[in-house]
């Protein structure tokens, strides 16, 4: 367990760089992490996904699975992969300040 400086705040992260305390997250942090992950701007569509992940994931501390997101947030698979290219499962979790999803689907 270590800490990381992001968007002017110090947050706790695990070895893989996922935040471990969802309560330390805020929207500036999300934007900053998105930048690190190659997403220059978070659009309304991105926020639909992130807000949904926060809504269902904060209590458990881990992000929902991709299928949970497509079903729950009503975002089609193709769009989800377009919004968070090259590895949406991990990217969404990181940007939402949550751990990796704990399911397989």
């Amino acid at each position: 367990m270590s800490t990381k400086e992001i968007a002017g705040k110090t947050v706790q992260v695990n070895d893989e760089g996922f935040m471990t305390d969802p309560n330390e997250w805020d929207k500036d942090i999300a934007t900053a992490i998105a930048g690190e992950e190659g997403i220059a701007e978070l659009t309304t569509e991105h926020w639909t996904v992130i807000d949904y992940c926060r809504e269902v994931g904060v209590e458990a501390g881990s992000a929902p699975t991709l299928r949970n997101i497509t079903k729950g947030a009503g975002v089609p698979t193709k769009q989800l992969f377009g919004l968070f290219p090259k590895g949406p499962a991990k990217k969404v979790a990181k940007i939402s300040g949550l751990g990796k999803p704990e399911g397989c689907v």
Partner: protein, 167 residues
């Protein structure tokens, strides 16, 4: 990110329900982690992409030493489903229903939907030329998302540098 993206290729050669899911589950996980996915369907694996077959894949209890009576929800421990029972008409359909119910219970999508998810996520699906010839099939027989019918040699070319999983 490294200059060359990680690539993984699955060869699906089986049409039994229990052998159909591994590539779907791992392929989906790979896409979620940003890994390029190619799936090559051959022999009985063609059933996974055949419009006629994809919604009717089954699992047979005969000679399946892992399928136990306890799957039916009765606490019978290691007691197996006797092969003599497994040959009765309807037993394969019954075992298939049990497995489908279990899958649905843990929110695993059916094969057709899983394939759609994979295609939408960027997986590349190809049918084996030899199997297409052997089973007398054409592109129209396949579900949407199958890109082409390719030879074994084509597959080797397109999976240069990929990790290959044979199922």
């Amino acid at each position: 990110m490294s200059e060359e993206n990680r690539k993984i290729a699955f060869i699906c050669s089986k049409g039994n329900m229990d052998m159909v899911y591994p590539a779907l589950v791992m392929g989906w996980a790979a896409l979620g982690n940003g890994i390029d996915v190619t799936i090559f369907f051959t022999f009985w694996g063609m059933d996974m992409i055949r419009e006629l077959r994809v919604d009717h894949l089954q699992v047979a209890p005969v000679a399946n030493t892992s399928m136990k009576m306890s799957m039916m929800g009765v606490d019978t421990g290691n007691l197996g489903i006797p092969n003599i029972m497994g040959v009765l008409p309807g037993m394969t359909a019954f075992a298939t229903k049990l497995m489908n119910d279990k899958m649905e219970g843990i929110d695993v999508p059916p094969v057709r939907e899983y394939l759609e998810m994979l295609v939408d996520g960027g997986a590349q699906l190809y049918a084996c030329k030899m199997s297409v010839d052997m089973f007398d099939l054409e592109m129209d027989d396949f579900v949407d998302g199958v890109i082409d019918i390719v030879t074994a040699s084509d597959f080797m070319d397109m999976t240069d540098g990929a990790q290959i999983v044979f199922i």
